[in-house]
Assembly symmetry: C2
Homo-oligomer: 656 residues x 2
């Protein structure tokens, strides 16, 4: 070791490739940047398809199995119910039963209200908690999700439908709602089948947080209608319209409604707070809505306050979901509207369900195949649309209750479904005297948890641009409408992607004293520049959408360095080393940009050197003959090595 | 040095941070990964705006200047003509004069033909070579570009216009053409003013190569009408329709047209070949078109072949561009069509002009401000639309001739403009007997150079996906239409961006023997894995559109490694080191994904370690308290250090 080191002065000036200034380097010098072995086109294609469509390797289990086992696994794959049913233990049943009944007690009053958000009949909401959960229990692979109509998707559906058809035209409106649900299902299943589910990843977390909060407040404001007992409520959803509607109709306010509503709102919020503080008492919060409904209904039944301005649900037909296949329209002008509405609501519904599924899968450490989930949700909505259900998905609030209640398997969804069935065939008349104000406050207390102030604060702290997306979506929903808010959320998310791919980061690297390591001088203030050499790291693959920027940016770094040197009268710039470690791929436009850069620098008598280009990049440099153009000797394995060679040349040029 | 090394065995087991296994490392250990100094929000915002909108630092020259100088520079910036005029030398004039006259001799016959591609009158083409070049000479900063109508944009305009208005309705058709040109100019100038010019970078080089080749062949096929003398030619542009039209109308073929056409086509191609082989003889090729026109016109004038089936240009009005402000329509149904057509043709025209400008700027090493060029081109087209010119831009073929003729400044454009002016006021009657077939072959010989087989071959060799984009655009234009080809080109380009941002590359790193360097084991076959430790490099920033994929992909790498270890009965996996050098930024979704990954690995008793996270990433980890979650001790400056610490823990756990 020591002898090696003393050799240094002796070999000075000898062939660079075999000499060494640090023992670590010597070994590195023996390794040149390699052009990887050629990969046959077919395998390259296979790999690409796998990464794009099967990155989570869903067929992993099938590998190295007997045909019988493969057949069984295939059955389990398509119908997860067989998988968990085959290992179902009786002791799970108690938990699943409790969880199922708990979410049913939540679902029934919520469904009545959510149907109103979509401008549909209360019973349509109940239908959505009967058939869809059954389908999902058979096809879905999340154990914790609770299926049914949800607030945000319902109000979005209602807003979009209202633009096309007046809700007073109930027959046509219902037709469009069901056809839209059908197409939403088709889109969901289609995305899953084509394994294009990653499309929902284009809605960023920040945008979702903002959108959800905005939607929650909008939904809450809509409940003022029921809470105050206003009859001529605005059909718009923005804050200003709603507030105007509230203050202009003070004469319609019903004080009994308000009193009953506020009383039970307090009750719901207090129980919610208790459930949140003590996880064991979650059932207090979970059972509060049903308790409120029972108490309030009994109270109105006895006092007959409906004759004193308290609006009630009124008569609800008994009976299970009627078939609605004949309601679906596949021709005429309705179809294109239904396709558009289905696309939007379907994607938002997917976003909510997949987010829930992933959260619980991560908590309980099981793998969830997002694309397969989409197929399950899609089929669920297709069948739902044939059985009078408007669009359903996984519910944030009910899924959380389901999880807290200790659910073990999708049996809880089946239990809920049966409980709703019982309600449908026997209990609906009991809701006749349920005051609307009680449904309103149940919805208010349910959507409150969609407003995630802590998440918004974290986003503000971590990423200001993300916060902008969050606030944009929030304000869009709040002041304009749910769909515009969604549009803003998607727009800002895409703009961020665009920004990311056109304006990649670059950094000047400096040497960390006493080491051979080069790091961003902005992050490591003691890292020092090497005189006469500029080390620039390119922090992204180079391809058509950013290659022009990268070329311009490097030239700008060089200009800045020239200015700096000019001011300090230092050593003139003679070498630019591009650290390409982060550059994972390059396309023809990118190579052309580098060639151009090379020529520009040559004209200014600056030599370009490249450090650590990756496998794919070297392959393409090789194919494009860029290695010959720049010269094989200007490719280095590390920045350290490149700086060493360059500074040696600098020194020798000074000596001459 | 040697003593340090022998110390190694003594300190084994001591605090890792202070021990060392390589002298290089010891110094590195003293440097922990740093959270960069906090940057105030305003400066962060300023930096972001600068990178997004002013990456080329266009106001660089203005820095540190006196107010007078700044004022002068401002004048030069807005009107580059003052800048180069103030340093103009008389000896430039000869070169500019020759270049200007040469391109004029090319422009006049080409313009007559290009106007036909757009279904307009021949003289409309000439108008476009008079006013726009003058405007560009004042506002533009490229010295080499030659302005006028160009083939690809003309046929695109013609195709789009024909969809909306029947060309036989000349008045309305001309109105729409001019209004579209106006809006094209508005878009171009608008993009430049808003500094959004990078949008044209979203059309990849490969897509452009394919699109141009397809458009060239399509344009060539359209010339069969003039060459063969067919009167009832199809209005479609796809290969099959054109061929069908050619073979069904054999009775209309004019043998004199064909003979004259083929004769001069041979002449043009031979001179073109000569000009290409000997750069000094470029003028042979450049003057050939005008020579052909003169000879053919004289020939027809003398022989009166127009009475034997040879179609001639016919009478052209004399006179300069009439004002056409009253032709522009800003109300009614025409506007939305004009906006759409203007947007498409404007962007394609920009793409061509900017590509030319950049090519020559790189060849002659001057900086070109793309956004400023767009403003110049936009104003040029706005004024053009008021002076009876349809959309103009920089021409590939004429700019190349301009360059080869030794052009020095934009004076050549002015010279060309004056030559065209002379033609307009005095020479147009001379074109009466010019046979259409001669214009056809001039266009054929002009567009041939748009077919870049070598570029296509290079693309095939370098990047198969790029080649797909290239062929998609080519076949789209060839078999369907120019606009569909363009749509395919844009679509494939965007799909590639999408793929890039959702499916970033990851790689397993191995140790290069005898060094402390870790590299992709696929690129460096002798790099070896470290038992019990998996080193994965993430080759992209982590953010919402890819964070889910990255999480899944890392888990898959871990599963694969488990399988591999299971088969070989090696040391069980205990550490996963993520090399984050290429990860330049992370957003809230990305941090959530890492947190989730951390939990998933913990459940499998695998410790996560991170190597070399960048400045911005550390800042966000800090803000999101992720450093506390993972533990400060699991952040390392290099992979080498991380592996060292991990393998030491592995060894001690074996010893216990």
């Amino acid at each position: 070791m020591a002898s090696k080191h003393t050799e240094l002065s002796d070999v000075h000036g000898a062939d660079i490739r075999t000499s060494s200034f640090r023992d670590d380097e010597e070994n590195a010098f023996a390794h040149k940047v390699q052009v990887p072995a050629h990969i046959p086109l077919v395998r390259e294609f296979e790999d690409a398809v796998k990464e794009v469509f099967f990155p989570d390797d869903p067929l992993r289990k099938f590998r190295n199995q007997t045909p019988t086992k493969k057949y069984l696994l295939g059955l389990f794959y398509v119908f997860p119910i067989f998988e968990w049913m085959s290992t179902y233990k009786l002791q799970y049943l108690k938990d699943d039963l409790i969880a199922g009944l708990t979410i049913a007690s939540l679902a029934v009053p919520q469904d009545l209200g959510y149907a109103k958000l979509a401008n549909l009949q209360p019973i349509d909401g109940l239908y959505g908690s009967f058939v869809p959960p059954l389908i999902y229990a058979v096809l879905g692979s999340s154990r914790h999700i609770a299926i049914g109509p949800v607030a945000v998707v319902s109000i979005l559906l209602g807003t979009l439908l209202r633009h096309e058809v007046n809700p007073t035209n109930t027959a046509l409106y219902f037709k469009l709602a069901l056809t839209s649900t059908f197409f939403a299902g088709v889109f969901q299943a289609g995305l899953g089948l084509l394994r294009l589910g990653f499309i929902i990843d284009f809605l960023s977390h920040a945008a979702i947080v903002g959108f959800m909060a905005g939607a929650a407040i909008t939904i809450g404001l809509q409940q003022l209608k029921g809470l105050l007992g206003i009859k001529n409520f605005t059909t718009k959803t923005d804050f200003i319209s709603v507030m105007r509607s509230v203050w202009r109709n003070t004469h319609q306010w019903s004080r009994y409604s308000i009193l009953i509503g506020l009383f039970f709102l307090a009750f719901l919020l207090i129980t919610k707070y208790i459930g949140k503080r003590k996880k064991k008492l979650f059932w207090v919060a979970a059972l509060a809505p049903l308790t409120s409904v029972i108490l309030a209904t009994a109270f109105v039944r006895v006092t007959h306050l409906e004759k004193h301005g308290v609006q009630i649900v009124g008569h609800i037909h008994k009976g299970v979901n009627p078939s609605s296949i004949h309601q679906l329209e596949f021709s005429g002008s309705l179809v294109s509207k239904a396709v558009r509405i289905g696309l939007i609501t379907g994607l938002v519904a997917l976003t909510e369900a997949i987010a829930i599924g992933r959260t619980f899968a991560a908590l309980e450490d099981y793998q969830l195949d997002g694309n397969k989930e989409m197929i399950a949700l899609g089929i669920m909505n297709i069948i739902g649309s044939c059985t009078s259900c408007f669009i359903t998905t996984g519910s944030f609030s009910r899924s959380a209750v389901n999880y807290n209640a200790g659910v073990k398997t999708a049996i809880s969804n089946i239990v809920m479904s049966i409980a709703v069935l019982v309600t449908l065939v026997a209990l609906t008349p009991l809701f006749k005297y349920t005051p609307n104000c009680i449904l309103a406050v149940i919805i208010i207390s349910a959507v409150i948890s969609l407003i995630d102030v802590r998440a918004a604060y974290l986003i503000w702290k971590v990423d200001k641009l993300d916060f902008l997306a969050c606030m944009g979506a929030f304000l869009g929903v709040f002041f304009i409408s749910v769909e515009i808010g969604l549009l803003i959320a998607v727009g800002i998310s895409l703009a961020k992607v665009l920004l990311h791919v056109t304006r990649p980061h670059t950094a000047i690297l400096g040497n960390i004293p006493g080491t051979n390591i080069y790091r961003n001088i902005q992050q490591y203030p003691d890292a020092s520049r090497v005189p006469g050499i500029l080390v620039i790291r390119i922090d992204s693959s180079i391809y058509f959408s950013n290659s022009n920027y990268i070329r311009e940016r490097v030239v700008r770094w060089v200009n800045d360095e020239d200015d700096r040197i000019g001011n300090s009268k230092g050593v003139a710039l003679q070498f630019v080393i591009l650290e390409l470690s982060p550059v994972m791929s390059i396309d023809t436009t990118g190579i052309m940009a580098l060639e151009e850069l090379c020529r520009t620098l040559q004209k200014r008598k600056i030599q370009l050197a490249l450090a650590n280009p990756g496998a794919q990049v070297m392959e393409k440099f090789h194919a494009a003959k860029f290695i010959e153009l720049l010269g094989d000797e200007w490719f280095f394995l590390t920045v350290g090595e490149a700086v060493h060679v360059c500074s040696r040349q600098l020194n020798s040029s000074f000596e001459n």
